[in-house]
């Protein structure tokens, strides 16, 4: 064993001391990114899949049946809501405003609520929906992967889900995300 070999053993390379610093800097970066994410936004596996099948009574005309196939033919919004849901109330004016633009038909899934309350609510606050399906026991909500009302889906002409918005939709969300997507889908379909 030579003297030179011993020297390298006793003097480890300086850069090795920077390794812990580098690792912690990397962790901090990950945490900063992680904190910025919204844990409520769970990616839906239903995107680019056909709208889940259902067959439910309509809110105003309980004798008539509303099926997922009724969504086909044009680009539409499918909104899951209930009167017990405060965020739905917050979102409601945006929906009525969207309805006024005549840009896109809005359909509703009236989720786990008393139909009478829904009728009252729409009378009082205005009715942006073309039709509502009444899902009293929430079974169809499960089929659609609903977990945080309100939820809004963009459905294309073929009845394929193209986008999901979880939570109350703002006018900004509508203008910046949903409307451009709807116009794009319409162009592609035409």
């Amino acid at each position: 064993m030579s003297q030179a070999a011993d020297n390298t053993v006793n003097k480890p390379k300086r850069w090795i001391y920077l390794v812990p610093l580098g690792i912690s800097a990397g962790l901090v970066a990950l945490f900063v990114i992680g904190l910025g994410l919204n844990p409520r936004l769970i990616p839906s596996p239903l995107i680019d899949k056909p709208a889940p099948a259902f067959s439910l009574p309509k809110l105003y005309k309980p004798d008539e049946v509303f099926r997922q196939t009724d969504l086909k033919g044009e680009v539409s919004l499918f909104n899951i809501w209930a009167t017990w849901c405060p965020s739905c109330k917050q979102e409601h004016p945006v929906l009525t405003q969207i309805a006024k633009t005549n840009e896109v038909p809005i359909y509703g899934l009236y989720y786990k609520d008393d139909p009478a309350l829904g009728v009252d609510w729409l009378k009082r606050y205005g009715d942006p929906y073309r039709a509502n399906a009444v899902d009293v026991d929430g079974r169809v909500g499960i089929e659609w992967g609903a977990y945080g009302t309100p939820e809004t889906f963009v459905i294309d002409q073929q009845g394929i889900i193209r986008h999901k918005h979880v939570g109350p939709m703002s006018w900004k969300d509508w203008q910046e995300t949903l409307l451009p997507l709807i116009r794009k889908l319409r162009e592609q379909g035409a």
Binding site: M1, P45, L46, R139, I142, W144, G145, G148
Partner: protein, 154 residues
């Protein structure tokens, strides 16, 4: 006294008493076991740090009912899990499946462990090495020479 003992054991094994199984009667133990197992493995999407078994959210109750009916109708574990993930995504699983997307998640701990072991081995070897080379054969010769000299002086 019995109650105190019971309480003591309940506190020792809290996982045995979570049983949100009331209202879900089963005929066979396997079914009950499957229900219990899956409701603990599936995550409530509303209160995200609780399982379906723990959560009292309305959605968790609905999903428990769904789970119960599927267990009763004899659906397999895989069938039930794919029913849930088809609708709610991988997020509903506390234990994500092993796939290309979760590769990093699953492998990072093992990679880090290997690195750590490699570092440990390297550094401990170096430490052992330097200790053994503190006295080289040449140095030993020198010491022997000096000792002999001392002996000769006497």
């Amino acid at each position: 006294m019995h109650k105190v003992v019971l309480l003591f054991f309940m506190m020792l094994f809290p996982q045995l008493i979570y049983a949100e199984i009331a209202g879900f009667p089963f005929e066979s133990e396997q079914e009950e076991e499957r229900f219990r197992e899956l409701s603990a493995e599936l995550r409530c999407l509303v209160c995200q740090n609780q399982s379906l078994a723990d959560s009292n959210a309305a959605l968790a109750q609905d999903l428990r009912t769904e789970l119960y009916e599927q267990v009763l109708s004899g659906n397999s574990r895989d069938e039930i899990i794919s029913f849930m993930t088809d609708r709610y995504g991988e997020f509903i699983l506390y234990k994500p499946t092993f796939s290309s997307r979760t590769l990093l998640l699953w492998l990072t701990p093992f990679v880090l462990l290997i690195f750590a072991i490699a570092f440990l081995v390297r550094f401990s070897r170096k430490a052992g090495h330097s200790a053994s080379t503190q006295i080289t054969e040449d140095e030993l010769e020198e010491v022997r020479g000096l000792l002999d000299e001392e002996d000769n002086k006497l």
